[in-house]
Symmetry: C2
Amino acid sequence: MELLDRREIIENLKYLVQAQDRPKLKNILIDIHPADIADIIRDMEIDERAFIFNLLDLETRSDVVLELDEVTRDQLIEVLGPEELSQLVDQMDSDDATDVLSDLPEETAKKVLARLDFKDRAEVEKLIVHDEETAGGIMALEFVAVYTHETVDDAIQKIRQKAQEVEEIYNVYAIDEKNQLAGVVPLKRLLLAKHNQLIRDIMNSDVIAVTLEKDQEEVARMFRRYDLVSIPVVDHENRLVGRITIDDIVDVLHEEANEDMHRMAGIADEEIPQEMSTLRISRFRLPWLLVSFVGEIFSAFIMRSFEATINQIVATAFFIPLIMAMGGNTGIQASTIVVRSIALEEGGTTNRWSRLWREIRVAGMNGLIMGILITTMVIIFFTDDPFFGMVVGTSMFFVMLNAAIVGAVVPYVLHRFNFDPAIATGPFITTSNDVLGLFIYLSFTVGYLRWLS
Amino acid sequence: MELLDRREIIENLKYLVQAQDRPKLKNILIDIHPADIADIIRDMEIDERAFIFNLLDLETRSDVVLELDEVTRDQLIEVLGPEELSQLVDQMDSDDATDVLSDLPEETAKKVLARLDFKDRAEVEKLIVHDEETAGGIMALEFVAVYTHETVDDAIQKIRQKAQEVEEIYNVYAIDEKNQLAGVVPLKRLLLAKHNQLIRDIMNSDVIAVTLEKDQEEVARMFRRYDLVSIPVVDHENRLVGRITIDDIVDVLHEEANEDMHRMAGIADEEIPQEMSTLRISRFRLPWLLVSFVGEIFSAFIMRSFEATINQIVATAFFIPLIMAMGGNTGIQASTIVVRSIALEEGGTTNRWSRLWREIRVAGMNGLIMGILITTMVIIFFTDDPFFGMVVGTSMFFVMLNAAIVGAVVPYVLHRFNFDPAIATGPFITTSNDVLGLFIYLSFTVGYLRWLS
């Protein structure tokens, strides 16, 4: 669906909803992908949504629910009874069903769960125990497994049985009698093999798998590293228990990128760009603002303790924003680079000290250039005292150097103590750099005044 | 390969390299994935790298070259002659071959190209004309196409012929006599169909495809939206010309996330965390620092023009860092949300005005809270003059409000004029907010002083 005609489609559909032209609507909707229907529904009034939703067949309804953003989904789910909800959940893959159920209010979830058929309920109960951000939390129970002693024909038979349930099949997993993962057979190989060949003889036994507890970010990294489309999940005894497919990994990658960016900006992960009340958003953002607030109140106290200095050379105050901004930028540049390299490097192989040393060199170089520039500017435009210009320039140099060190070291420290280093790139580092920078700058000025007298 | 034993493996390999124990090394290397070999090689000396590299078979060598980071790859390629390089490139998929060749110095690339076999050369020449960031730029020419009037058996025959060349096959594409894309057949369906069934009868004719010029970000969005593992690429006459697979899309997603984060931090996209000279990095980061510098010099001029005010109440200066920081944070929060929603929303359906209005409400709410907080703090700790406290608080409220408006509007304006809105989240918005915020704050103070006298 191209961008241009989307608004047109929506207008058209809205018109048909008002005209209650069910046959025509059905005709149009049948050609639209559930993801696009979800998008269209999002932009409609609640009663229009319900009208359209009820025209879809069960499977499409179920797909649309999965594609909706949280807010719209919640609004829609409120309208549906537990009976209809359980029908929709019945249609979903085990991992999606679990996600939807765990997002529901507990009471509703219980009611829906009770109405699921036995097999689906058992699956959800099996999956819901895993931490949401682990392999167990994102895996599905839909996969095709064959014994190593079976034949290609047996495998095809199994695929046929499971064809309805397992929508996307890229590989068949080979297991031994103890259900332990023994190998993987890509469909391509199955298609080209002879019908009576043994799975054991055509499988690839160098299979890349993950355990249940593996962090989802790690899993995503493995997909990227080894160019996978799916990965089998095993328990501690190497028994095959689930499968993760690339579409879920794409979502993980997307989430993680969003999370990192939100942390850089001091926004809570939970904040979503759609309808959310002002109060809730405000509450999400306040903590970061408060971090800054507390830090900068310190700045105010520091400046008050240097009141005499500022009174003596009021020009000192003029360059505070400049020096703090340069420190802030340098700190963010250094910390972003370090945070990204912590996130990307899979084993801490590259030398941390060399990275820190590099940031110091870069900041030193840029500090030198900026320091000379500001010294010149101060002397030309602001004062007749070349020494004061040099005080500003020297301060800037050291403030930038300090900011780079703070920016490069703090993420490692956070990482060391198992905090997400990405929070370092947010208001936290900027505020520390502001306080330290101010202190450095004013100390230099005091030193200069002492030297003068 | 787990993180813990990586260092051990490297130590072990280094030892064997020194002992020149070729058979043992080969034995170990054969079980390691090319992506891991690339990683191990990266951490070795140049001569150790070459020694290990020469022990690998041609296909693995070719895979390793693809997995190496740019710097290590360049160093390795320098050692290899055009003859060996062309052998390696011969092994690669057309898209990878094209990427490697277009990264080479022009002279070398020509020599390598001349040594490729006719078919590979033709393929590279066909691909190299497309913009790197479009569907044409990331697609490969390896895919399996069958005519709609052919049978399942014909299709399997074609897969067999191409099995070597096309490593990953998830779908077979159905074309008509004019080579126009008519449908898609997942391998699963092929496997379950009868041998003499016509492709036409089993294909899915609702096929999602992209044209050559489609931007890679758009393509990635489609993969995410429609849960795809591969997508066919067509020309303007709907003729099938290539295929994009999910592994390339995962890389695109990764790149884009990195790019956005770099922009937020004011780092150039080209900066890579590995060996790069201090001077080059410094040069990459200077432009952003200069943007800040110029902006904040303005701040200095503004403050000078308010010199009398600061002289009169020196406490005015104390709260400049605080007010600027709160404005800065609010601006970044607003712009990040807006930038992300511009990047995510595929059609501009959601109302911009409502988003802007929401940011204003949130900033108003937070500004009110912070304003009351700072007023209280100023009165308790800094002055006996409650009115001055209210001046600081009121200023903070308006500075935050203004920052939210700037933060929410600028990305739209940039987007409107075809700039990447992500640059707005960097030093650009922070600096504008600093300057505007300072002006608002000092104006309020002047107003207050006038009212006093």
